[in-house]
Symmetry: C2
Subunit: 395 residues, 2 copies
C-alpha cells in the first residue's frame, strides 16, 4: 500500500496508529471469534483515567456505543472535541476518577486503534475490509477480558455503558459472572428488536449502495463511500432523538431564510442539522466499521445463547445491577430494560431500576440529565461501600 | 430524445402515456403555482368508478398518498396488482361505487400521467426533471379543482384520503369551502412534523447521493438512481409500520437459514422484507417525483397560510367532517388528528373523530381494518342521507 490517499480522514489514521495506550496480542494469544475462527494478531487501543489501587479492586470498565470510542474523558484526537462522557466521568463525577481506575477500550471491529476493518491486515499489507470476520458483542467482550487480564485485574468493580455499551455490560456478566462486582447497563436491551434491525439495514444498504464502497475495498482503492455513510448516519440520528426533542429544538423553523425557497436546499433547520450530522460523522468514522458495529448489535440476543432463557444468562452472577432507561427513548424503550430487570429478578439478583423522565430520547445517556447523574452516583457509591472502597472526597 | 432507454420502468412510460382518462389544459388555462409561476400545458390523469347522477350531487373525490396513484379500484397498469384502496372502494364497500361517482386523479408532480418531473417538457422535448417548479399540496388541490370543473361538477359530495391524501382533503376544505359537502381525512396532519421532515430529508439525500441521479437528469441520460430510491423507500417503509407489527410479523426470525451467516446477507426476515420493498418500489416510481412529493408534504402547514390559525383555515366551511387516526401510527400520531378536531370544534363545524385501535401503524388506512370500515361507512351513509342521495342497496 502506498501513502495515505488524500481522502483518508483522521479516524483512518487512528486505525493503525492510535493516540492511545495499546495492548498487542500475538499469535500465541489468538482471539476466538463467534464466527468460528481465531483472530491474530490483535491490537486493543484504550484509555485509562485515575489510578488502580493496590488491591486492584477499583477498576471501572466503560463500554462505548456504536459510534463511540475510548476517548471518554479526554480531548478526542480526531474531532478535537471533549470526551463523549465527560458529563459522567471525571473528578467528582458519578464515575469519579479520583476513586476509580477507569478503563475504556475501543471495541473490536472499531476504527480507533483496536483491530477492525480499517486496520492493516498484516497478511496482505492492506486494510482488512470485509476480510475481517464479522464480530459479535461477545467477541468484543472477550477481547476486553484479554485487556483486563493484561492489566492484571481479576475483578472489575463496575462495568458500565449505554446502548451498544449496555449490551456489552450484559454480556460481561453473562460471560464472566465472577469478574463483575457491579453493572450499570443504560438505555439498552438484551436483544435487538426487529425495528432496530430494520433501521440498521437501511444504513448498511445506504453505505453498500455507494459506488465508492467498492465491496469494502475503498481504503485500498483510495476512495470513500462518504455519501452513503452520511445518509446512514442521518437515518440513525433521527432514532437517537425523540419527536418532542426535535419539535422543541427545530419545529418547522426555517434555516437562515424568511421563506421557503421552492428547492431542495435545506430550508428547514432540522434538515440543515441532519446534513451537518452526516457531514461531520464521515470525517471521523470508518464506513466498514459502521457495517460491523450495526451487525454486531443486530446479532445480539443474549437469551438465545442460553437456551432461550434470559435468566439463564445471569444465573451464575452475584453482580449488583442498576438498570437505567429513559421515558422518551423509542430505540431502546423502557420495556427492553424491564425485560432485563425481570430476568434478573428471576435469578434473585440485586437489581435497582431507574426510568429517567426526559424528552431527549435515546441520546439522553450522553447528555446533561441530573436524574441520571443522581441515580448512578447513588448506585456507584453504595457499591463502592459494599466493595470496601474509600469514600468519595467530600466537596 | 431517442427511444426509451432500457432501464425505463413502467411508471416512466405511464408519465407521458397513462393508462387512464386524461384531461388536458392548454396555454389558455395555466395552473397558478405557489412557487409564483404558471404551469402550462397541464395534463391530469384520472380514473372514475360508478356514475355521476343527474343532479351531479354524488361525486366522491379520493386523494392519494405519497406513493399512491389514481388506480384506486382497478388493476394497476404498472404493477399488475389490484387497486390500492379496494378494501374501501367498490360495490357495497364504504365508498360504494354503486352510489357514488368516485374520482381519483394522479397528483400534480406525480409520475402516473399527471404533469410531473418525469413528464416530457414540451419546450425541450426532454423530461422536466427539476425544471418543473416544486409543487405544494395547495397546487395539487388547485389542479384537482380544474379537473372537477372540467367534469362539470360544482360540489363534491365527499373528499377522502389518507396521509398526504388527508392533507389534500384539509386543503380542499380550506381552498374551496363551498365545494366540499363532507370530508374524510385519515391518518394525517394539518402540518408536517419536524421528525417527518427529517425522515423525508434522509430519503431525498439517499436519492441525490446516488451518482445516477445526475442532478435530476437521469431520464434524459438513460440511467436511474434506483439504489438511492430503494434506500429512501426502505427508510420510509419502517415509518409506515409499528414496532409491534414488525415484532409480530418478523421478530428476530432468520430468512431461509438455520443460523446467522456472519455476513451482510439478509439473515433476518425483516431485512429481506425491507430489501424487497425497496426493489419493487423502484420498478414503479420515479425518483424525482419522490423528491417532489416529499417536499410538498414538508411544506404543508395549513395554519401558516391562514395567519397561523388553523381554525382560520376552516372558518368558511360548512363541511361535515370525520377525522380518523390509528393508535399505533407514529408518523401521524393521534395528536395530529386531535389538533385538526380542535380547530374544527373552534369553528363550530360538524365533526366526528374516530381513533381506531390497531397495531398496524400508519399503513392501517390501506389494510383490512373493520373498525375503519364501520366508522367510515356510518359517516358516509349519514352524509349521503343529509345530501338527499338514495340509500345503499340492501345486501
Amino acid at each position: 500500500m502506498g501513502g495515505p490517499a488524500p481522502n483518508l480522514n483522521g479516524s483512518t489514521l487512528e486505525a493503525d496508529a492510535p493516540s492511545s495506550l495499546v495492548a498487542r496480542f500475538g499469535p500465541d494469544r489468538p482471539l476466538r471469534l463467534d464466527a468460528g475462527v481465531g483472530l491474530t494478531p490483535l491490537t486493543i487501543a484504550y484509555q485509562t483515567y485515575g489510578a488502580l489501587n493496590p488491591a486492584k479492586s477499583n477498576a471501572f470498565l466503560i463500554c462505548h456505543a456504536l459510534t463511540g470510542d475510548q476517548h471518554v474523558a479526554n480531548r478526542n484526537p480526531v474531532t478535537g472535541k471533549s470526551g463523549w462522557w465527560e458529563t459522567m466521568v471525571g473528578p467528582g463525577k458519578p464515575i469519579d476518577t479520583e476513586r476509580f481506575f477507569v478503563i475504556c477500550a475501543n471495541v473490536l471491529g472499531g476504527c480507533m486503534g483496536t483491530t477492525g476493518p480499517a486496520s492493516t491486515n498484516p497478511a496482505t499489507g492492506k486494510p482488512y475490509g470485509l476480510d475481517l470476520p464479522l464480530v459479535t458483542i461477545a467477541d468484543m467482550v472477550r477481547a476486553q477480558a484479554m485487556l483486563i487480564d493484561h492489566l492484571g485485574i481479576e475483578t472489575l468493580f463496575c462495568v458500565a455503558g449505554g446502548s451498544m455499551g449496555g449490551m456489552q455490560v450484559l454480556q460481561w456478566v453473562a460471560s464472566y459472572p465472577d469478574r463483575v462486582f457491579s453493572a450499570l447497563p443504560i438505555a439498552t436491551a438484551a436483544r435487538h428488536s426487529s425495528q432496530n434491525i430494520a433501521f440498521h439495514e437501511v444504513g448498511r444498504q445506504a453505505i453498500m449502495a455507494d459506488p465508492d464502497w467498492r465491496d469494502g475495498r475503498y481504503l485500498a482503492e483510495g476512495v470513500s463511500p462518504s455519501k452513503g455513510l452520511a445518509v446512514a448516519r442521518m437515518a440513525a440520528h433521527i432514532t437517537y432523538l425523540s419527536e418532542n426533542a426535535l419539535h422543541r429544538k427545530f419545529g418547522r423553523k426555517l434555516q437562515d431564510r424568511a421563506a421557503r425557497t421552492f428547492s431542495f436546499d435545506a430550508d428547514f433547520q432540522v434538515e440543515s442539522y441532519l446534513r451537518h450530522q452526516g457531514a461531520t460523522f464521515v470525517e471521523r468514522f470508518d464506513p466498514n466499521s459502521y457495517l460491523f458495529m450495526t451487525r454486531a448489535m443486530d446479532y445480539f440476543d443474549l437469551a438465545a445463547d442460553y437456551g432461550g432463557s434470559l435468566p439463564g444468562a445471569f444465573k451464575d452472577a452475584k453482580t449488583r445491577f442498576c438498570v437505567v432507561s429513559f421515558t422518551s427513548d423509542w430505540l431502546f424503550p423502557t420495556a427492553d430494560s424491564r425485560a432485563i430487570v425481570h430476568a434478573l429478578n428471576a435469578t434473585g439478583a440485586s437489581v435497582s431500576f431507574v426510568e429517567v423522565e426526559t424528552d431527549k430520547g435515546h441520546d439522553a445517556f450522553l447528555l446533561d440529565e441530573p436524574d441520571l447523574f443522581a441515580a448512578t452516583r447513588g448506585f456507584i457509591d453504595a457499591a463502592a461501600r459494599a466493595r470496601g472502597l474509600r469514600p468519595a472526597r467530600s466537596r
